[in-house]
Symmetry: C2
Subunit: 556 residues, 2 copies
Amino acid sequence: MSYLHLFEQHETSLNKAIDAIRSRIFHAHWPEPPSGKIYGETAQEDGLHAFKTSLNSTFEFLQNGSSGTVGSEQSPYGFPLNITYPAYSADVLIANAQSALIEWKQLSTKERAGILIECLERASKHFFAIGFSTMHTTGQGFIMAFQASGPHAFDRALESIATGYMAIDAFADSVQWTKPMGKMQVDLKKTFHIRPKGINLTIGCSTFPIWNSFPGMFASLITGNVTIAKTHPSAILPIAICIRSFQETLVDLGVNPHVIQIAIDETSKPITLELAQRSEITTIDYTGSSSFGNHLEQVLQRSHTELFTEKAGVNCALIGEVDSLDAVLDNLAFSLSLYSGQMCTTPQNIYVPKEGVKTSEGIITFDDVCGKLKEKVDALVFNEKMGPGTLGALHSPAVQSRVEKAQSSGLDIIRESASVQQQGFDNALSCSPLILKATSSDQAILHEEWFGPISFIIPVDSIQDGISAMAESVEKHGALTTLLYVQSEEYLSLAEEKLIDAGVHISFNLTGPIWVNQSAAFSDFHGAGANPAGNASFADLSFVSKRFNVIGIRKP
Amino acid sequence: MSYLHLFEQHETSLNKAIDAIRSRIFHAHWPEPPSGKIYGETAQEDGLHAFKTSLNSTFEFLQNGSSGTVGSEQSPYGFPLNITYPAYSADVLIANAQSALIEWKQLSTKERAGILIECLERASKHFFAIGFSTMHTTGQGFIMAFQASGPHAFDRALESIATGYMAIDAFADSVQWTKPMGKMQVDLKKTFHIRPKGINLTIGCSTFPIWNSFPGMFASLITGNVTIAKTHPSAILPIAICIRSFQETLVDLGVNPHVIQIAIDETSKPITLELAQRSEITTIDYTGSSSFGNHLEQVLQRSHTELFTEKAGVNCALIGEVDSLDAVLDNLAFSLSLYSGQMCTTPQNIYVPKEGVKTSEGIITFDDVCGKLKEKVDALVFNEKMGPGTLGALHSPAVQSRVEKAQSSGLDIIRESASVQQQGFDNALSCSPLILKATSSDQAILHEEWFGPISFIIPVDSIQDGISAMAESVEKHGALTTLLYVQSEEYLSLAEEKLIDAGVHISFNLTGPIWVNQSAAFSDFHGAGANPAGNASFADLSFVSKRFNVIGIRKP
């Protein structure tokens, strides 16, 4: 059976994605607005209904060999999901994967691309259910949940498929090779075969269960590997909906559904380390805390497992020279508030010259900058229309404890955190941004990631010193993002030089509806792979090419 | 200062290389015949003169900070070279590299490509001197020495440059990004910067001091890294000539010569491990024994150094079904004899069905196949015109000891090894191929690499069993090459399936002037990176893309 018809069906989508990846232009295969005009007038209602139907029930997959059940998800908006999922042992998952690998790796790259894009297209019909599930497992506001787990995550998946396709397509898969040798010649028919590394394990995180998992899964799949998505025990449902849909599509197409499996555990009985250490697992994608990531690196030191990581970092910002401070602080206030700072890309340490910030209206003092940032956050958070949806809820009580710990750290408080009412969800766990004033001597605090709505404003002697402090922090503690507000050529160049050296992506002078937290598929590389926050980048060539080898065959 | 004129000058060469790499067609930028018509009528004589002039003298580089001298090379043809080289400490090498890196990484990829190809073009004027130096350090016969260290190695360097260029060129380096948002839009100017990993260390081997070193060096250089070539103490001169020439070119162009450095030590006072463990070294290319390679892997386990390896393997062959056994054994005899089996690609374990080999003239018994292979090797080795030049000399007395050890292992001897007279070099260390008969029960012997002119013929119950034995051997002990003589579709498919799974390149039914030992730049990947013989492949995308990261910068 051939799947080339699926390739033909999706070839235009693939080529548009490849064009965007090459040129880095804006591209969105799936539109981001959760709009009825795009997704159907009843799509939101249907999605909510599907989400509600899945509560208090048992979730099924087309995946063999379950033993027992797991599941104890809790909505951050204050109620238990009461969903039970089948549990699968490491032995079963690996046996399933091994058998699925046999046929999957035999398919051509074109066939795999066709099948995978078909899987995504069909699963995209569930965007609204996925959005509500993401909201009620991660705590994201609905619009963000819809976008991050729906169109944005699916675009990242398509990006991985397209990048893997490009990497394989870089070289011909066969050639008639003729070597002239004086009056003779040698002729060889050469073919080149993509040999996947084998079984991929993608270890998901609690805050972006789909967006952070799809890149590794689909980069693995397009290059001939099969994948096991290990979900975070607190955020199972969103990716469970996707994987059930993928498995239905695979079965419908006559492909072994175990090409894409789910692995679910409970916090009390984790299986991640057991799976990760199995020799049959050849590549691992990990998103999560640095402590578990470092532990993984250590236990895998002696193995040949290829480990792709996105661990934690300390994102830095600098406000030095601005045109309009209002526009800058509007932007920054939103970045600090969005999903209550629970993004790996949210700024944490904000450097401001102690002499104040140069603006088109003169210097604004350090204290005034702090005060104005507080006002901007207040204005957003207390805006009943905007605030609650922007903040969302805390994905875990641990974030609240962290806010309390920071609030009682002894540092001057610029803005106190307080709970924010989430309409209709009286028990939602919600904290508005806490902003503290630190000094360079508070290194123990500043060099730690305070995941959640916690940021620090740090006075520096000069813009130059601020840039140096950022570069040093990135080199030592890693970062996913940096954000700088400087105007003069001197500082722009200095920042570029120092921060490229430090190995981190840079955003300058963002105002208006574009935020440092955002990373756009097809255009922005997510993660640089060049600092302690992780070795992987969505999706550079290294992210895909380490997942396969090329085997050459020569025949006369 | 811009170097774009050099890019323009070499753009056609680069594009032809890229075209060949993409299509895998035959391509040679530098012709392989050591012919006066190509390289100048006096080129050979001049090269020999240059080689002789360098004997008994002191070799100089354009490299700062030497302390003391080293050098005790010995020609395998029986005389000492008496060349002393400057020694450089790890501290000096790293300080030099760090300062050179500052400007090198700022150049554009086009500029680096232009400069590097110019370096190669100028150094290629020394092909004959490099050839004689290679002959008198490695023991290779002259023609092979010329080709392997001259055109073939330089083609591999050009291949690495072109592959690195392709990988970087896969994505735009800037874009005006416009995101439509209903009635608004967001505009960002994005630029993408290549951030090299830093300083590369390339650890060379004693048998192919240039061919095995250039790929890693030039893949590192094109992607913005600087490189330190650590030579094997017994084969310094060939690459020393290249590096002096490169440094002269760099200085002439106004580039810091420490972009490409040499590191030389003595066996009694090695510096490789010290260098490899320095945190400033970020990528290492290693070619050599598995024992030192495994040790390197172990000491680097906790570091973030990216290690590319080509270690040893056990190459396997199978003679099952042939058209003409004479043609097959002519080919195999040459492969076993070429450079006295001292190639990482030479077959070692040769499986033959115990019932004999099917030929177009009927079955030929196992014993007759062994006897005929002996005759073919005799005919080549005792051919005064062909034999000595094909065999060359043993690069080290350790190889001779290994031959003696194998000869007294108790296995049946199919062909005894004996020294072969090298015209004009009475003290040359030379051994003709030893061929032994082993059985599957001699696993301890068969699963070891017997580097040198040593091979084993092993009877198997069937062609199928032979294929299984090869696959198992590759999986457990690694291999650079496999060679099979089978005709029926059934066995061709089975071998492809099993050996692709095992992760090794395959050659079928080679006869005539093309041998399994050969790996053609631009077309054949050398090393699969998929079995215990090493993780690197010259030059797939992974070989280049792991040497840099991409840093994105966004500005309104």
